[in-house]
């Protein structure tokens, strides 16, 4: 087994913890789940943000023989407590440290890598902090809220030689890879359109401020976003506000733009034109400001068009590649692949892994942490996929067509659009 630069072979378990204190010195055997990988050779993980998504993904990490989960952090005490129980439970022990402040978790020398599953507003920022602390990263999507924030994250990871995997796990799932391969091998002829469907949003109504619940560090919850009062409905519906999220086109659409980029083999570049229309929430009734529904098109220099459609229900999401001799589609809710001509499907392997299974994606990260080879969804790749969604949003917000230069990452001849590429974070956070 190769050695990660100066860290993997040394297990340190010496760190002191804070609020939810556990023993200062924890023998590796206490945390160890199996015996097949020596504790000294395991990659130690900590979690930043342990809400609903983390609860689903952490078990996939723990299932890996060479992973040792040692710590969790969250600005909400209730979540922190539950996550500590989850990790401890799966390890056959309660021995998992808990930190209300993720910076304390990052300061621990015995943590090699972190899994970031915070709210979207924190993703790129937490990645940058982790990279600066020398940790490798698995970060949930969407990986950034503004284009320049994403670029800065890429540069930070490059600066620290960070191994990074974005949570675009469909890239590692058989059905999507199969569809991609079918397109690349020309089995549907020349690719003309990539159709991507995400669901219609539920706008969030106006509501008044309420006291911050006990156990919440609300200031940290807000993180880099402009300060705003605590309004429960707005906090819970953070996905639908430009301040804290980016709407469904980005939150879900980034999976599909990532697949589109993978299929087109344009992981280091992107489309050149964006145009679309959206339906916005009624401002009299609703406070949320991201689109309810819409359609936005992007065009690559080679003429291939990507169409992102926001409509219908959660279970209706899909990606469909349309060529001049046929098409292939993967339905996200069922992982079902359909195609015309149907005979294409006979080539599919036997794997039935669904989009929700992140195991293969995580395995790729772990192998990369050891070899220091970039993962399948390295920073630049993830950033370019995310950029497409961000540009789609900018195009919708400005209500006009924009022309993009992927080489300079600038909108051509549109100062207002270019300004929207960057949102300065609230202090004291530095991207």
């Amino acid at each position: 087994m190769s050695k990660k630069s100066g860290s993997i072979s040394r297990r340190r378990f010496l760190a002191a913890s804070t609020a939810f204190s556990v023993p200062l010195i924890v023998p590796a055997s206490v945390l160890g789940r199996g015996n097949s990988v020596a504790p000294s050779e395991r990659i130690t993980f900590g979690s930043i943000g342990v809400g609903n998504r983390a609860k689903r993904v952490i078990p996939h990490f723990i299932q890996q023989e060479d992973v040792q989960y040692v710590a969790v952090s969250d600005c909400r005490a209730d979540r922190l407590k539950a996550a500590r129980r989850l990790v401890g439970g799966q390890h056959g022990s309660e021995a998992c440290r808990a930190y209300p402040d993720f910076r304390e978790l990052l300061a621990q020398d015995d943590i090699d890598a972190v899994f970031i599953a915070t709210g979207d507003r924190w993703h790129s920022l937490a990645t940058s902090y982790a990279a600066r602390a020398g940790k490798d990263v698995y970060c949930e999507k969407p990986i950034s809220l503004s284009l320049l924030e994403g670029r800065k994250m890429v540069e930070t990871c490059q600066r620290y030689g960070t191994i990074y995997q974005a949570g675009h796990q469909r890239r590692s799932v058989d059905s999507y890879r199969f569809a991609s391969e079918v397109v690349q091998k020309g089995m549907i002829g020349n690719l003309q359109t990539v159709e991507m469907q995400v669901w219609r949003a539920n706008p969030i109504a106006h509501a008044r401020e309420e006291p911050v619940p006990e156990g919440w560090d609300y200031d940290t919850w807000l993180g880099p976003t402009p300060w705003k009062p605590f309004v429960p409905a707005h906090v819970n519906g953070w996905n639908y506000f430009w301040d804290t999220g980016a709407g469904m086109i980005a939150a879900m659409g980034c999976h599909y733009t990532d697949l589109m980029q993978m299929t087109l083999q344009t992981d280091d570049t992107g489309p050149v034109e964006f145009e679309g229309q959206a339906k916005w929430p009624d401002p009299v009734k609703f406070y949320s400001d991201t689109p309810i529904s819409g359609e936005v098109r992007c065009k690559y220099a080679n003429g291939v068009t990507g169409v992102m459609v926001q409509r219908r229900q959660f279970n209706d999401r899909y990606i469909r590649y349309i060529g001049d001799e046929g098409w292939i589609q993967v339905d996200d809710a069922t992982n079902r692949v359909t195609a015309e001509p149907e005979s294409i499907l006979s080539l599919r392997g036997v794997s039935s892994k669904s989009w929700s299974q992140t195991g293969g994606h995580i395995r790729n990260l772990l192998d990369s942490i050891r070899s220091r080879k970039p993962t399948v969804c390295a920073p630049e790749t993830a950033h370019r996929a995310m950029s497409i969604c961000q540009l789609m949003n900018i195009c919708l917000r400005l209500g006009r067509k924009i022309t993009w230069n992927p080489a300079t990452e600038q909108v051509v001849g549109d100062d207002e659009a270019n300004r929207m590429l960057w949102r300065a974070p609230r202090s004291p956070w530095i991207v």
């Binding site: 020398g134 600066r159 620290y160 401020e209 705003k228 070899s371 220091r372």
Partner: protein
């Protein structure tokens, strides 16, 4: 409290009344919970307004006025968000006034961050000494983001709680002066060296981006030599590899020369990204001396590259004593390989089943080498039997359409394995022309094993290409009963209007083998059009096998019918002769949601199927109850 609220309302109403435009008046007094209608109007006006137009200038002025009045925080926040998009030098002064207040400094910085005006940095520098707490931090951070050399002096003088923010800002500015200021801090007592090194690393990256390679290299080398923590050294190597590959190669060589040195994996991975001559002088020169695990990493690093420059290294690694190294090389050849690689991979694949054999097949299937198909076809000529059929399997999985004509020829050979594999491949890849040629080959076949595969394959190709004419034409010309039967079965794999007509017509053929094939084909026919001829068989045949086949087919089609199911079963029920027939029909009738189905059960009921009939009645009643 009541009086306070009233006075607040009065204050807001008097401020609001000063506005001519009701939308801006609403924004001035906006609080959470209020309608956003006024905000939407402004957003919409910005959306449709032309940059630099008088309308936009007026809007900017109004928005800036919101900042200077006694507006609510939410009102100011909204104004700053709009000025983030349209703000110009005209609104700088009013935004600047928010910088001194901890509550508003961040939203001011939000608006200022996207302003390109050269007056922004002086504004920030002017506000810096007066600001406190988070306002000061916000200003320091934005000065770093602006990357303006004129801020170096002010930032270098900051100490205490804000020192780390100032150091980070200096790293982002990354000029020679900024680096000098940072370097001078190293000598001070109690300095957090990892924060300082992080800033220097950022400065190195900034210099590299600006084309100042020499200064970048010096900084990176310094950090490699003296950084307090390992990941800064790792980062320095990474930045160096981007800025100056030659300098990086030298450092990588030094790291790889000493076993056990930290950063070896990083060094190998980065070396893989260097220009070709440097890869040869770093990685490849040392390959033999590396442990097997590192050789695997090396091959993985080479695999990630574009082009075939290192195919020789991959070929050599195929003979390595360590299996993991061999497997890594096999994987690498899918991307890097040439025609010779294809031959080597074929040889490996055709060896006894091993991990390497499977990996070689996978590599051949996914090879991106442009002549891979041609090389595989050349290999076909040199093989026979099982080996050849395995190669045909690879061509099939590659969807090598260029191999179709060759495969058509192989369908007419003597080697059964080759013929079977060729037909199977053409079933997947064959075009319209191939369908005709396959039909001709079918007519010459003698082996029944190959014939079964050939019928399936021709049917699949004809269905896919929607080209069944060669099959029906051959059928019309054919005279030998066995061959006619074979063509009927083939039509069953390519069901369409034409083939259905021929199959249904064949029910009246004078030859028993042909009639038998027609009944069997229709019994498995997917469409409802087969039901009438199947009912006709049921009513006319004396052949019990044909009757049973027709009954099964009819029941299946009636079950899958979209409407009038009961009526269809009414036509089937009179043909029930045996207990087995009755069981088959009762199983299907019991699923009908129709009271008429109960009558059908009674018609079918007989002593031998009493239990099944009772169960069918119960099920129908249960469905009807729902």
């Amino acid at each position: 409290m009541k009086y306070f609220t009233l006075s607040l309302l009065f204050a807001f109403s008097s401020i609001a009344s000063a506005w001519q435009d009701p939308d801006y008046a609403a924004i001035v007094s906006y609080k959470r919970g209020d309608s956003r209608a006024a905000m939407r109007v402004v957003e919409e006006n910005i959306r449709v307004g032309k940059a630099g137009s008088q309308e936009i200038k007026n809007m900017e002025e109004n928005l800036a006025n919101i900042l200077s009045g006694e507006s609510t925080y939410d009102g100011k926040l909204f104004a700053c968000k709009m000025l983030w998009i349209i703000g110009s030098e005209s609104s700088l002064e009013k935004i600047g006034k928010l910088l001194s207040d901890e509550k508003t400094a961040d939203i001011a910085c939000f608006a200022l961050a996207t302003q390109a005006s050269k007056k922004v940095v002086p504004l920030l520098l002017d506000a810096l000494p007066k600001a406190k707490g988070r306002a000061k931090i916000a200003i320091i951070i934005l000065l770093g983001e602006k990357r303006d050399a004129s801020a170096v002096g002010a930032l270098a003088g900051i100490s205490g709680a804000n020192w780390s923010f100032a150091v980070s800002a200096l790293g982002k500015i990354g000029t020679r002066d900024a680096v000098t200021a940072l370097a001078s801090m190293r000598k001070k007592d109690g300095i957090d060296l990892s924060t300082l090194d992080a800033a220097l690393l950022q400065a190195a990256q900034e210099m590299g981006k600006r084309g100042k390679q020499g200064e970048c290299v010096t900084l990176c080398r310094d950090l490699l030599a003296q950084a307090a923590v390992q990941h800064i050294k790792r980062g320095a190597l990474s930045v160096l590899a981007t800025a100056d590959p030659k300098a990086a190669a030298k450092e990588i060589n030094a790291i790889l020369a000493k076993p056990g040195t930290p950063l070896r994996s990083t060094a190998i991975s980065l070396a893989g990204t260097l220009p070709e001559p440097l890869v040869r002088s770093t990685l490849l020169a040392r390959m033999a001396s590396l442990p097997a695990t590192e050789q695997v990493d090396l091959l993985i690093a080479l695999e990630a590259r574009e082009g075939t420059a290192f195919v020789d290294a991959l070929h050599n690694a195929l003979n390595h004593k360590d299996q993991n190294v061999r497997l890594a090389a096999i994987g690498g050849l899918a991307k890097e390989g040439n025609a010779d690689s294809v031959n080597r991979l074929v040889a490996l694949m055709l060896k006894a089943a091993t991990k390497e054999s499977a990996a070689a097949r996978q590599s051949l299937v996914s090879s991106v080498h442009e002549d891979a198909n041609k090389a595989l076809l050349d290999c076909l000529d040199k093989t026979s039997g099982t080996d050849r059929s395995r190669l045909i399997g690879v061509l099939t999985d590659r969807r090598a359409k260029g191999s179709v004509s060759k495969l058509v020829k192989l369908c007419s050979g003597q080697d059964q394995e080759t013929m079977t594999a060729s037909f199977r491949a053409l079933g997947v890849m064959g075009n319209c022309q191939a369908v005709g040629l396959m039909v001709r080959a079918l007519s010459q076949l003698e082996s029944s094993e190959v014939r079964n595969e050939a019928e399936r394959a021709i049917g699949a190709a004809a269905k896919r290409t929607k080209h069944t004419l060669p099959i029906t034409s051959a059928w019309k010309r054919a005279t030998v009963p066995e061959k006619r039967a074979s063509l009927l079965r083939t039509m069953g794999y390519a069901p369409d209007e034409n083939t259905f007509g021929e199959v249904a017509g064949a029910l009246a053929d004078t030859d028993h083998a042909v009639r038998d094939a027609a009944v069997r084909t229709l019994a498995g026919w997917p469409g409802p059009e087969a039901l009438p001829p199947l009912l006709s068989v049921l009513g006319s045949t004396n052949n019990d096998t044909h009757r049973v086949l027709a009954l099964r087919g009819a029941v299946r089609l009636a079950e899958s019918a979209k409407r009038e199911k009961t009526n269809l079963f009414k036509k089937i029920v009179p043909h029930v002769k045996s207990d087995a027939d009755a069981r088959l029909v009762l199983g299907a009738v019991g699923k009908l949601a129709d009271p008429e189905a109960l009558k059908l059960v009674e018609e079918v009921r007989r002593d031998g199927v009493k239990a099944e009939a009772d169960r069918a009645v119960a099920e129908i009643k249960k469905i009807l109850k729902k």
